[in-house]
Amino acid sequence: MMFDPQVIIEKLPEIGSGLFVTLWLWIAGVLGGVVAGFIVATARRFGGKIVNAVLGTIVEVLRGTPFLIQIFLLYYGGPFVGLMLDPIPCGLIGLTVYSAAYYSEVFRAGYASVPVGHVEAAACLGMTRFQTISRIQVPEMALIVLPPAINLAIILLKESAVLSIITVPELTATVSAIGSQQYAFLEAIFILAIVYWIIVELTDRLGRVAENRLSRLRFSKA
């Protein structure tokens, strides 16, 4: 039975390692997605019609197909194009690319929310595009972009469980394996659910605190 404290203590390091993998894959995936997503959104906005169309199609495909299929394509299909990936790097790349597609949409909406006139004023004053993006557009979109960005991060944490299917040794994989070994699969899954639930709730609360702090710092548009 899973609830034998001896067993739990024995297995704690294993579970801890699984949790660690989930957390760092998640954070890396989110950060990578934010950076790549921002670059894609910026490229789409300023790169001309063709760039916009090509990147737009890629984004639509990544958002319109299941994450699991994308992971299978990368993991099982990769070797056929010379990309022999271990589960963890594969999971990281898959999660980051998926994450970037969604973040690019968040930043697209962010760019659209900055009034055109603010950008025109910067242009008339002789500011370069880079200066306008970094000093005007990004700060102005920060408040608008934060809530969807945090929600997206939470969604990505939940998606990361899918990586267990390609044997990435993250939390779901680890706990399910222990559960099967101990003939206490149901209890293990139940505890697994609770753990995710707690992390998600915590992130949600922290996110809201961050939103409040930020909205007090920045003044809303007059």
Partner: protein
């Protein structure tokens, strides 16, 4: 990639569509019940509803499916795997749909509710005749989005052995040693279905807008 293989995937797509549709429908009913509970004003209904929504939005769908799939036999409910899968999907989408509806219900102009109150409507009547239709119209785009989400999430039921597009693709890929064309075809089928739903959704939204003006 042969036409024969593609046909197999298309047949599996029917399964995907069937599972998704049933789950969305059941999920919708549950979501409306949850919304009614949240608006009832009575803590005894509100708290369990909140707990339900929080749990099924806070736990990964994969874990939920494993949970339901393992739990049902243990508590004596012996159903075919596909039923367990649909139960799992329905509960999950119910929570998300309820969350979408929450915003819609909050946007119902209070004046309309007061008017119903004054006219003698009971809580249930106000809910059915006033609040629900308005909330649904407002949250329609979010509901279309959720439909697309369920369609993608249905790929996870492959994990508990249900035959739909993803499971079929997995089996075909391992037997033909051609993962790229097969998974790419599977992706294409999902993409086409989702794009169709999005288009239909936009079309429906436009006709809804016309009606409510």
């Amino acid at each position: 990639m042969t036409p024969k293989l593609f046909t197999l995937l298309l047949e599996a797509a029917l399964s995907t569509l069937g599972i998704s549709l049933v789950s969305i429908a059941i999920g919708f009913v549950i979501a409306m019940l949850l919304s009614a509970a949240l608006l009832s004003g009575k803590l005894i209904y509100i708290l369990p509803a909140r707990l339900f929504i929080s749990f099924f939005r806070g736990v990964p769908l994969l874990v939920q499916l494993l949970l339901i799939y393992t739990l049902l036999p243990v508590i004596g409910i012996n159903v075919p795997g596909i039923v367990a899968a649909i139960v799992g999907l329905s509960l999950c989408t119910a929570a998300y749909q309820a969350e979408n509806l929450r915003g819609g219900f909050a946007s119902v102009p209070p004046g309309l509710i007061e008017a119903a109150d004054v006219a003698g409507f009971t809580g249930a009547q106000t809910f059915i005749r006033i609040r629900a239709p308005i909330a649904l119209r407002l949250t329609f785009p979010a509901l279309v989005n959720e439909a697309i989400m369920i369609l993608k999430s249905s790929s996870l039921v492959s994990v508990v052995g249900i035959i739909e597009i993803t499971k079929m693709a997995q089996d075909l890929a391992s037997s033909t040693y051609q993962p790229i064309p097969i998974f790419a075809s599977a992706a294409l089928i999902y993409f086409v279905i989702n794009s169709a739903i999005a288009l239909l959704g936009r079309y429906a939204e436009r006709s809804l807008k016309g009606a409510s003006a």
